[in-house]
């Protein structure tokens, strides 16, 4: 077959799109066949290794490189137990939120109300204790109850009434922040938080690590077992892969999607409790800054271990990676603008590393 057509009717002007199209096709061809043929066995083995490792462990490799670079740059501060503890403590709330989010993302749903849910849960708990003199266990249960309720509302509107998750949760998030302010009058609260409540996150009972780390570990373990080792998890991934095929296989797709929103709602409520417990105080809309990092971590995680799928171990790596970068860059004492540039650059590089492997593989 001739590669190009020299016989295009002469009266037609040269077609720009055609000129563009032709080389693009050639490039694709040379990538798939001739390029692979002449390479030696050593190169090929290298390519195969890259195919296997990069999509699964690209982000992990980038993570290790970042740790090594920081350790060389600040050998006395960065690679220490104290610093690791700081990173873990600061990452714990983000971790809980991100692994909860992973459950809905596995079903291809979005939840943009999680930041607002964090703020609402914290606000409810503190307001009930400080303004209404509730005992802390009741206030705590109430906050968790709000998390469940938010999940049910989101899940019902999206899974049962068919609303698009992106917009619905964005709108619900706005409503939730309104409810939070109704409880707290949008005023910062410093006093009236029970000591028992403060102990929940701040105290440390084990290995010198604060409780919030252990809470995060438990949540991550539970959700990892749920997604990777139970029937429900299998069904959830099936819904994410092909909702119609899942439904026709007899899976309760609507109920499971609702359950996903409840899980992430409760996770967000736990984060709200931890944040207010940690400082013994309440700041309005404290959850907002946690929304985007949770997504960043989950998407980083989807480029890890199970390429293309949101998974709990990947999300954990994503959260720790993000925490390490921000702590490390702070230690390096860079100017703010540089921190932003470097942080963004590292994330792009890490995700592309995984993609690169996938591209080579196909």
């Amino acid at each position: 077959m001739p590669d190009e057509s020299p016989n295009a009717p002469a009266e037609l002007p040269a077609d720009a799109t055609r000129v563009e199209d032709a080389p693009r096709r050639t490039v694709i061809k040379s990538e798939s066949e001739p390029a692979a043929a002449p390479t030696g066995t050593r190169d090929r083995r290298g390519v195969e290794l890259a195919q296997k490792i990069l999509p699964r462990y690209g982000v992990l490799i980038a993570f290790l490189v970042v740790i090594i670079v920081f350790s060389i740059a600040k050998p006395h501060i960065f690679p220490t137990w104290a610093d690791a503890k700081t990173i873990l403590t600061e990452s714990a709330p983000a971790l809980i939120l991100a692994v909860g989010l992973t459950v809905v993302l596995a079903m291809q749903d979005f939840d943009l109300s999680i930041g607002a849910t964090v703020g609402l849960a914290g606000g409810v708990a503190v307001a009930l204790m400080a303004k209404h003199a509730w005992g802390w266990p009741l206030a705590l249960l109430m906050a968790l109850g709000f998390g469940v309720a938010v999940g049910i509302v989101n899940g019902y509107l999206i899974a049962f009434l068919g609303g698009p998750s992106f917009i619905i949760t964005l709108a619900i998030g706005t409503v939730l922040t309104g409810i939070e302010y109704a409880f707290t009058n949008q005023a910062t609260v410093f006093s009236g938080v029970a000591q028992g409540y403060i102990n929940i996150a701040a105290k440390s009972y084990f290995l010198g690590l604060s409780n919030q780390i252990w809470i995060a570990v438990v949540v991550a373990l539970v959700l990892w077992v749920l997604l990777d080792h139970t029937e429900l998890g299998r069904y959830m991934y099936a819904i994410g892969g092909n909702p119609e095929a899942a439904r026709l296989s007899g899976i309760r797709t609507r109920a499971l999607r609702l359950l996903g929103f409840v899980i992430v709602g409760v996770a967000a409520a736990v984060v709200g409790i931890i944040l207010t417990s940690q400082g013994g105080s309440y700041t309005p809309n404290a959850g907002a800054p946690y929304l985007l990092p949770a997504y960043a971590a989950a998407f980083l995680g989807a480029a890890c271990f199970k390429p293309g799928e949101f998974n709990v171990p990947g999300t954990v790596i994503g959260v720790l990676f993000l925490g390490t970068i921000s702590t490390g860059l702070t230690i390096l004492n860079l100017q703010t603008y540089l921190i932003n540039l470097v942080q963004g650059g590292i994330l792009v590089a890490a995700v592309l590393l995984g993609r690169l492997g996938q591209r080579v593989a196909t």
Binding site: L232, R234, G241, L248
Partner: protein, 513 residues
């Protein structure tokens, strides 16, 4: 090359010639050295069963897919089409069955889309000029359509005319109409035919794809019949009879290798497994009633859009129905969703395998155990699947159905179409259902895999299951069914059983109107 010679009117130079086109898809030979030619001023009817290769041929002509072998010549010069843009450049225009128009733009904007709208001052679109230009093209077609109207306000027939007008606007030398009269009324059809004649008289080469034999004799000047990726017949329409065309389309000469299926026991001794009464979804399925007995392979014949898929989806609970009752082994079962159907012992292999049958990201094992995961619990009531037992069951089914896959952990998307279809079947065999409904199970899979599928359906029937088999290929139904229902426009219009089941009888019932 005799086929090429036959389609060319004597003396006229063909506009486009296809030589030895081959197109392979994984597991399918869609085009197998197809030859053909089309002459200006001729309406060529392109016929063939579903899967005969017509769509692939059209895709090749449109530049949407590149052939693996063979060449296209336009005005005797070899050409390579790198995309739809090239096809337009060479004067090829297409009106696809699924309209590729933009409903939220106006008629005029659609007709001139991509052709460079007339401008005011080189920047803004000159709406008035655009409209009058489009209106002129429409008037050539004698189409009473307002060029300023939003496309969405038009009927399907009018939208087809708009797409044809678009072909005129690009000065097309060849126009391909893919089943243009599907879902049109008689009046709309005769108008469309008039338009086709206008184009033909202006010297346009028209390729007219249709399943309706009446139409072939009414509108086409010559015909080309495709079967199994080849052009098996080409010649002037006047030179063939209706019966000869049917023979070319179905390949009746190629005798079936299996005897038609007949249940081992007489009907009276076989239990009624499924009875459907008065199943209705207004305008789609009207008052459908039938029953399936153990050992039956019950075919459902009909044209695309006759309501066959919709009917079985209603029975399976995939879509809500307005009225209708389902009895399994004589007991009425309320089916509100696929879960209820499965519990009642009914399963469905959906028509659209990729979108409805498989989870493409999942491995073969996970696809096979998806519907029955509960039966693989580690121990007790805890919902932890036992992976070893899952793998064991998956391997057994892979072996039993002869699924070609080295490891049950491989993603299902690496398998050929036929093997993917068998994985879907494996999933449902695990359920242990009484009634298995197969919706076009052999579509898009190769001949060998088809034959294996026929064998599997017979095995199931022989085991005493009830099998419902939807197919658009009459030969398949004749070969494998002991009874066949015929569906037309949402109604079950007839039932053939035993020796009455023949391709000509089915054709008669499907097309009679």
């Amino acid at each position: 090359m005799s086929a090429v010679a036959a389609t060319s009117a004597p003396g006229a130079r063909p506009f486009l010639v296809a030589r030895g086109l081959v197109k392979r898809y994984p597991g399918v030979l869609a085009l197998d050295h197809a030859d053909g030619a089309i002459t200006p001023g001729v309406v060529l009817g392109l016929l063939g069963k579903n899967g005969a290769g017509k769509s692939t041929l059209i895709k090749v002509l449109a530049g949407a897919t590149a052939p693996d072998e063979g060449e296209l010549l336009i005005d005797d010069e070899p050409v390579v089409l790198h995309g739809p843009h090239d096809a337009t450049k060479f004067g090829l225009a297409f009106v696809h069955q699924e309209l590729a128009d933009v409903p939220n733009l106006t008629v005029a904007e659609n007709i001139e889309l991509g052709l460079g709208y007339p401008k005011v001052g080189g920047m803004l679109v000159n709406r008035r000029a655009l409209r009058s230009k489009a209106q002129e093209v429409l008037s050539q077609l004698d189409a009473r359509i307002d060029a300023a109207a939003p496309l969405a306000s038009l009927s399907i027939a009018q939208r087809r005319l708009v797409m044809i007008a678009r072909g005129l606007a690009v000065n097309a030398r060849m126009l391909v109409l893919d089943e243009p009269t599907a879902s049109l009324t008689d009046e709309e059809i005769s108008h469309l035919h008039a338009v086709v004649r206008v184009l033909r008289d202006r010297g346009v080469a028209v390729v007219y794809v249709t399943h309706r034999l009446n139409e072939v004799f009414e509108i086409t000047d010559s015909v080309a019949v495709m079967r199994d990726g080849r052009v098996v017949f080409a010649g002037p329409t006047g030179s063939v009879t209706r019966e000869q065309l049917i023979e070319h389309i179905t390949g009746a000469a190629a005798a079936s290798t299996r005897e038609p299926w007949r249940p081992p026991q007489p009907e009276a001794e076989r239990e009624e497994l499924l009875r459907v009464e008065d199943m209705t979804l207004p305008e789609v399925v009207e008052h459908a009633s039938f029953s399936v007995r153990a050992g039956d392979i019950l075919g459902i014949a009909g044209l695309v859009g006759a309501g066959r898929t919709e009917l079985v989806r209603l029975i399976f609970g995939a879509d809500p129905h307005s009225s209708g009752r389902v009895f399994v082994r004589g007991v009425e079962r309320r089916i509100r969703g696929p879960r209820d159907a499965m519990a009642a012992g009914i399963v469905l292999l959906p028509e659209d395998r990729r979108n409805q049958g498989t989870i493409t990201k999942f491995s073969v094992r996970k696809n096979i155990t998806l519907a029955t995961l509960r039966s693989f619990r580690l121990r007790g009531p805890l919902p932890f699947p036992h992976r070893g037992r899952e793998t064991g069951a998956a391997r057994d089914l892979v072996e039993r159905l002869d699924i070609k896959v080295a490891d049950t952990e491989h993603p299902i998307r690496y398998l050929s179409g036929g093997n993917q279809q068998k994985v879907v079947l494996a999933k449902w065999l695990n359920v242990g259902a009484d009634v298995l409904i197969f919706d076009e199970p052999t579509q898009g899979i190769d001949v060998g895999a088809k034959d294996e599928f026929y064998g599997l359906m017979r095995d199931l029937a022989a085991e005493g299951k009830g099998v419902v088999f939807i197919s658009s290929e009459f030969s398949e139904l004749v070969q494998n069914c002991n009874r066949v229902l015929v569906m037309r426009e949402g109604h079950l219009v007839g039932e053939l059983s035993g020796e009455e089941v023949s391709e000509s009888a089915l054709l008669e019932k499907c097309y009679a109107a």
